[in-house]
């Protein structure tokens, strides 16, 4: 029973991280109908920036975090304006190739600046050591609590932005029907840039959170690529179009992986995610939480 509790807490923590990556993917999917394969590369790069500040220049943890998020927002906005905008009206495959190209570019650039071979450790925000219940130690530390709470705060903030503000309404209108939104005076181009910027900023936060876990480290290729697979799976569980679904999908995936890891085998974690992905696509391709049926033309 204690083991089950630990696995659940651990799954929840990881699940919140997958949820945040999924949410970033969903935001970009909704804004521009593109699966952003560069998401992992973008958050890897911003995490390196934060690592450089925190470990090389001994900056404060929070300063490094804020700089990473701001850098993410800038990279996201620029990527949309400069790289995605020109291919947006072309075939969807063009945009996919562009995001893959950006991923490879960022990985190469990070390798040139910070080196490819070494795995850099990243400081945590709070203690790694789990909370104590009686004489037993939970697999849930203050740092894990920080991860869960910060993702939760961001999710709530995004919910308020999308559902309660005029800006969020404009972003949703642009996502659903850009031409009509433009006719109503919505400045569509700006909102697409903003969507990418927000998603990349959220990604940057996730990168720093993940790097700061007990198993986390920073390299140009590796842990952040797996994160993209988990995030994408979580987004697909939620239907790719639904922010709420992405969050639930992330938590569900986190729990599944945590249980499978311990009760089955821990050698093949990425494979469990792919099994879930394939199962969802076969059984409910529109996701568990999609409400709307086929899009009417």
């Amino acid at each position: 029973m204690f083991r089950f509790l630990n696995l659940t807490l651990n799954g929840l923590t990881n699940g919140m991280i997958y949820a945040a990556v999924a949410l970033a993917l969903v935001m970009i999917w909704r804004a521009t109908r593109i699966v952003n394969f560069a998401q992992g590369g973008m958050l890897m790069f911003t995490t390196f920036i934060a690592w450089d500040l925190a470990q090389v220049h001994h900056a404060n943890y929070w300063v490094a975090l804020v700089v990473a998020v701001v850098a993410g927002i800038l990279i996201g906005g620029v990527a949309e304006r400069v790289l995605v905008r020109p291919v947006e009206n072309g075939p969807p495959l063009n945009a996919v190739i562009v995001t893959l190209g950006l991923l490879i570019f960022l990985q190469a650039l990070a390798g040139m600046i910070w080196g490819n071979s070494q795995a850099h450790s990243y400081p945590p925000a709070f203690r790694f050591i789990g909370y104590k219940v009686g004489d037993r130690t939970l697999r849930f530390s203050p740092n894990d609590l920080f991860i869960v709470l910060s993702v939760l705060v961001v999710v709530i903030a995004l919910y308020v932005l999308f559902q309660r503000t005029s800006l969020g309404l404009q972003m949703r209108a642009t996502a659903f029907n850009p031409e009509v939104a433009g006719l109503l005076g919505v400045r569509v181009g700006r909102l697409l840039t903003l969507g990418w910027a927000l998603a990349a900023g959220l990604g940057a936060l996730v990168g720093v959170l993940v790097a700061g876990t007990s198993s986390g480290y920073v390299t140009p290729v590796g842990p952040f690529d797996a994160l993209l697979i988990y995030g994408f799976t979580a987004a697909v569980i939620g239907g790719l179009d639904s922010p709420g679904g992405a969050v639930v999908g992330g938590v569900v995936l986190g729990l599944i992986l945590s249980y499978a890891d311990s009760y089955i085998s821990n050698f093949i974690q990425t494979m469990y995610a792919l099994v879930v992905l394939i199962a969802v696509l076969m059984i409910r391709p529109k996701g568990i939480f999609s409400r709307t049926s086929e899009r009417r033309v």
Binding site: A173, N177, V180, G182, L183, G185
Partner: protein
């Protein structure tokens, strides 16, 4: 209020508008009639800047519309209800309406406009928090018109509001347009294939054929001219 002079709009080699001129007086309803492909929709899209003409001039209250960006046109008081309604079906009725008044910052004014629209179109009030894809065709048309009115336009461009609607609903919508003209001095340009119902509310009308104006004049005269009705209007 709106002046269109010798406008030529082309799609590749096709001249969709071939020297069209028209004048719209304030607080009147002008019907733009004609068969499929006559250039009616292109005329509206050219007026609000979605399509740029090859030649000609368009001015609105003395300002050159051809130098104005689409989202700026809305801010000048011209609202456009596109063909096929253009309601955003994933959003609720209320959200669709709010989108119509985006750039108005004043909260109380916004609430007031919302209340007015729900009074003008009672079926919308009953479904204000439902997604727009639960609405019937007629209700969607009402929503599209109401959303356009939310921006408090002085000029309303309507593209085929009767498309696919039952005659009774069409009559209701035409009645609403007449009321808006009389009570709020709204100016309307009404593109229609359904000439009979459009002429019944219009003050003046033009008939387009293959991108040219073939007839223009007071709506009453057009409706009375039997030859013309047979030749171009099909009733």
């Amino acid at each position: 209020m709106l002046t269109v002079e010798d406008v030529v709009t082309t799609y590749g080699a096709v001249r969709a508008l071939d020297g069209v001129s028209m004048t719209v007086e304030p607080s009147t309803i002008t019907a733009v009639l004609g068969a499929n492909g006559a250039g009616k929709t292109t005329l509206l899209r050219t007026v609000n800047g979605l399509v740029r003409p090859r030649a000609g001039r368009i001015s609105y209250e003395g300002r050159d519309l051809l130098r104005t960006h689409v989202d700026e046109v809305v801010r000048m008081g011209i609202a456009h209800v596109p063909e096929g309604r253009g309601v955003i079906t994933e959003l609720t009725v209320d959200e669709n309406l709010r989108l119509g008044a985006l750039w108005r910052r004043n909260r109380t004014e916004l609430q007031q406009s919302l209340a007015e629209m729900y009074e003008l179109f009672p079926p919308l009030a009953e479904r204000r928090n439902k997604p727009a894809d639960t609405l019937s065709g007629g209700e969607r048309q009402m929503l599209a018109i109401a959303r356009a009115l939310m921006s408090r336009p002085r000029l309303l461009l309507l593209d085929e509001p009767s498309l696919g609607l039952a005659p009774r609903i069409t009559a209701q919508i035409m009645g609403t347009l007449r009321r808006l003209r009389d009570e709020q001095s709204l100016t309307v340009v009404l593109v229609e294939q359904n000439a009979r119902s459009a002429l019944s509310v219009s003050d003046q009308a033009i008939v387009l054929n293959l991108g040219r104006v073939v007839v223009s004049g007071p709506a009453v005269e057009l409706a009375a001219d039997e030859k013309l009705r047979h030749a171009y209007l099909g009733f």
